[in-house]
Amino acid sequence: MQATVITITSGKGGVGKTTTAANLGCALALRGQKVVIIDGDIGLRNLDIVMGLENRIVYDAVDYVEGRCKLKQALIRDKRAPELYLLATAQTRDKTAMNPEKMSALCDELRPDFDFIIVDSPAGIEQGFETCLAPADRCLVVTNPEVSSVRDSDRVIGLIESKEKDRTTHLIINRLSAARVKKQDMLSVEDIQEVLSTAIIGVVPEDESILSSTNKGVPVALGGKGAAAVAYSEIARRLMGEDVPLQPLQSGGFLQRLFGRS
């Protein structure tokens, strides 16, 4: 096995990086993949809360990197899927506890034992972002259908492209409401595509079940119902190399036009 390292990033905060990381991790694991999700947001950990694994943390990634535990001890097994693990981050440290070299070394150590390593990057384009980007084979840029989020994604895509390492970068459009696009309250998929000119791997519709699932620590991808859960599961299949066409949104139909299918 040689894992693919996927870094989930956005530039802007609050667009749904952590929710995306948790759900894609769950969706991939439910499809039989061996997955570890790494929380890259040192000092502000919340991936464990979204995953509902907060009270299982004994050691975290920083403990391992600094030699206080074995890697096995830091990997928290999520029993809701066959092979799903979380590598939490330290809450009492700052971003200097990790750097690009340490993160790359950590991922290289994990690679032989997993199919997918998902790295949840912090907001911003500073050191934490650089640290999480370093090991990435591919990047998923999460963007919301609003001007400021798209602008930040553009900046981040520019930074990813400027690195020597050649990476596949895809876009996830998160929290799209077909009704609001129709009323022209929201940027459409085409608007976003025009500015970012980056291939879209999935469109996650606005879904109220996300909020309650986040608070309960049960990612929607584990439940399997609802529009967002379906979207995450489809993105997971695309990440696994399946050819899954993008579905038109319920009250939209513009995706059909965009991709020329009837």
Binding site: I125, R151, D152, D154, R155, I157, G158, L159, E161, S162, K163, E164, D166, V195, S197
Partner: protein, 246 residues
């Protein structure tokens, strides 16, 4: 006499001979006149054979930084000056920019598109040699999309084949031509040339300046018919007209 050239990594300012005090005065005048051209830039100073102490170099650095210009390198033929520069952490070459053009592009485009592109972030490895472009300062061709936060700066002309996204910046001493959609900000003639032009297939700049004149936008521009446009300075300010040969 001060000469400004474009480097891959930033700008090269070649200072003339003469008393250091006068040279700095002249440099200051250039910085004052073209503040927007230099602002945020990274420069290498070529001081020729002048013998300078660390204090002299530090004064130049302070002067530049007061215009938000970073001194990244000092080029000298004098061994004592080179030692003084090293004591301030200044080598003879600018740090290389992160390559914004991955290998998947064509070779010609890859070479050209890196010219004049500034590093988005500081602290990049110092490996590349800072040599002026062939043939001096005619211009650069960037064959790619210029994204938010990216700056193309050149004392000559800038040609972009691709879109210039909102939040991107083009700053040229000469003309700016965008074979694509211009939505970022553009400043042509940034070293004072009021005859410079800005041309774009789709002209929707967030801000547009030519020399010292700023385009006043009424908000109606964005609804104008699509099609190539050219911006020039006339007596009333900047005028944007349909692109056609005269």
């Amino acid at each position: 006499m001060i000469t400004i050239k474009g480097l891959r990594q930033g700008l090269l300012i070649i200072l003339g001979e003469g008393a250091w005090h006068d040279t700095l005065r002249e440099l200051e005048a250039r910085l004052v006149n073209s503040a927007n051209f230099f602002k945020g830039g990274l420069v290498a100073l070529d001081v020729g054979a002048q013998s300078l102490a660390a204090d002299d170099i530090e004064r130049a650095r302070m002067l530049l930084s007061s215009f938000e210009v970073r001194l990244g390198a000092l080029i000298t033929q004098d061994a004592g000056t080179a030692a003084a520069a090293r004591s301030l952490g200044l080598g003879p070459t600018l740090p290389a920019p992160a390559d914004p053009t991955p290998a998947r592009r064509t070779a010609v485009a890859a070479v050209r598109a890196t010219e004049g592109v500034e590093p988005a972030e500081a602290g990049l490895p110092a490996t590349s040699v800072s040599e002026p472009l062939d043939g001096g300062t005619d211009g650069i061709l960037a064959r790619r999309r210029v994204r938010s936060g990216q700056v193309l700066r050149h004392p000559g002309h800038i040609v972009v084949i691709g879109d210039v996204n909102p939040g991107a910046q083009l700053i040229a001493g000469g003309d700016i031509i965008v074979w694509g959609k211009l939505q970022g900000s553009a400043h042509a003639g940034a070293l004072g040339d009021t005859g410079a032009i800005v041309g774009a297939l789709v002209m929707q700049p967030s801000t547009l300046r030519i020399a010292d004149t700023q385009l006043i936008q009424t908000g109606k521009e964005r609804r104008r018919d699509a099609g190539p446009r050219v911006a020039r300075v006339n007596a009333d300010g900047i005028e944007i007209t349909i692109w056609q040969e005269k």
